[in-house]
Symmetry: C3
Subunit: 285 residues, 3 copies
Amino acid sequence: MTETRVSTLSVTAASAGWWKVLFENPPINMYDPGVLRDFQDLVAKIETDPNLKVVTFETANPSFFMAHIDLTQVGGAAATDDPASSTAPGPTGLPPWPDVLVRLEQAPVLTVGVLRGRARGVGSEFLLALDVRFASQELGILSQPEIGFGFFPGGGGMERLPLAVGRARALEIIAGGEDFDADTAERYGWVNRSVADADLDAFVSRFAERVAAFDKPALAATKELLNKRVRMAEPADLEATQAKFFQVSAGPLVAGHGQRLFELGGQTDGDMERNLGDRLLEMQG
Amino acid sequence: MTETRVSTLSVTAASAGWWKVLFENPPINMYDPGVLRDFQDLVAKIETDPNLKVVTFETANPSFFMAHIDLTQVGGAAATDDPASSTAPGPTGLPPWPDVLVRLEQAPVLTVGVLRGRARGVGSEFLLALDVRFASQELGILSQPEIGFGFFPGGGGMERLPLAVGRARALEIIAGGEDFDADTAERYGWVNRSVADADLDAFVSRFAERVAAFDKPALAATKELLNKRVRMAEPADLEATQAKFFQVSAGPLVAGHGQRLFELGGQTDGDMERNLGDRLLEMQG
Amino acid sequence: MTETRVSTLSVTAASAGWWKVLFENPPINMYDPGVLRDFQDLVAKIETDPNLKVVTFETANPSFFMAHIDLTQVGGAAATDDPASSTAPGPTGLPPWPDVLVRLEQAPVLTVGVLRGRARGVGSEFLLALDVRFASQELGILSQPEIGFGFFPGGGGMERLPLAVGRARALEIIAGGEDFDADTAERYGWVNRSVADADLDAFVSRFAERVAAFDKPALAATKELLNKRVRMAEPADLEATQAKFFQVSAGPLVAGHGQRLFELGGQTDGDMERNLGDRLLEMQG
């Protein structure tokens, strides 16, 4: 297969032990089949590099970390776009995207989300599968807006969000579909910490440089052991939720709300996507 | 059976999808057999209304959300007051009050507590069984004061409190019997959020109107799925705790402390009930 | 065996129901085989005193609550120093130190940590096994610095830390080896509460006096029941982690970092121990 596509994930080695990954998929960093392929390629490299200890994930677009799933791809297109790399179950036996996230959880390196801009739906779910999450106090926004589209979080959100924030706050987040700022997300445990934007890069660098300086066997043993000690998303649960998610999202209700999002200017960089939390009810109209 | 009793729970439909429930049981909103019956009636309606999506629970008395169990009813009276509706196990097979709470947890609508005033003992336990809890920053007070009476939280408190706040904070709360303000309760995860009293009604309305505007199948699927994914109070545990709770509370120790509460002016709207946290040790005298 | 050693744990009975334990092991309150023996003696007394209800643990050194394990003792010496009291499995069947901690968790009294100064490694792990933890806002410092030495938390840290703070924050803490102040520790759930140092003693006294005034059967029933309801560190996990911890810490990597700590002035009261968080990377040099 000839591959001329430029990856949406560019990797810079800050050092042998620390990779900085920059996500860029204009105009609003949506998740689509190409993004999935890029993550599949990247995870394989992360798993096997002998010197790698920490990977930070940042956005090239300070307004959007990862907007949400490309709705033109929901319900079939995303699944059939590139069978060879996209739809076959991954090494974990899970569907492609849950497979990527579980492999990141199990990889012998520390994964760190650096949140600027909006991480809605799959963006939140991606962050929840990372080991550590730091957010810009001014720019970070988190949301699970699926209820406004007639469905509910897939991609492990139903499993990992309540593990991070508890049942009551998970229900508030999912049933309300509201935008949450970084300070509230910190209080809820959705992110580890909300950091003033001017300090965030230095804060992340200090943390990543420390992790990269320590011994990999100690880090790998820590993650391996901790993963056995804590409750994590169960593969069977991830698979069951994913199946139900695609079943519900293939229905006419979701198609109608999705159509309305396009009419309102969604999936472009405009007021609808920037203020989706405030305007989520308009999709019911 | 002729029923002329006025319900302690008045229901106003803010819309087809949102019921506002106001609790009023003068003088201090105690829990008693009549309150139990009213909840039993209400839950049956909540479970079956096809259009209902969200129910908010507020107090008519800004000083007392739900004071505590009526101690004249503990140890027998509460259980025999009205056999037909009060003591028979409910549809879940659990005793009446745990049955009500588990049914609220499982109902395909979102339940929201709006805390003003004191929610002690059963009041806290009721809130803990709701899906979401918002508290007035100035007026909300939470407590599990049972230790001052010689027993420990029943009604699911022993199960749901540590799920919300963790072991260390649950032990601090239960062993100290202290009053907690809303900001501390938010930091502990006892409530979702502490909101300035002047903003609380608007905050709750915005949230409830959103939930009521979204699609019921998505909401129902969310709760059903999330309830399978998170740790919840186990029916067998609820039943075992409840049995032990009634066994201990029937003893002379509890009777003595209860008698002392009456001598000190408890169960009326006065300083003892308003400042029970500060004055809990006086019941030892 | 003649025992002329002065205990590192001095006990003062503030009342029949409240013991104040002061830890003093100059110069920096390290954990060593003598400390273990003192804890073994103390726990046996705590378990059997009929009137005791609450035990508070404080430090005689406001700069160090418990610095860390004495590295001259890791890898063998600590285990063989005094076979009769130190290495035989305790009544729980666990190795000595995990045995002490599990017995404190199960004892029918409330244990309360009062954190001033640095609690690193075993110091943090000791606090995590206590029922309740209060910290001085200005003086309290928590850390799991093991990664800087080439290993990972033993002593139940791998089990109890994520139960208290969740997976993401546990990984941040363990992989970064950073010092955490009391306010951050409160937000993370590492301590119950951060209290201004000037108010901490009065705060702790109020709490301990309350617990000591209530009925012991209610307190004992609370702990017994709550311990069945919440997830706790599993004995089999504690044992497996401990075995792996001693295996890794016996290796050359840890010996090298430990040697470097001594060269840098560690294990004495100086800048290295006071600022271990900032200087942890120097041990790699």
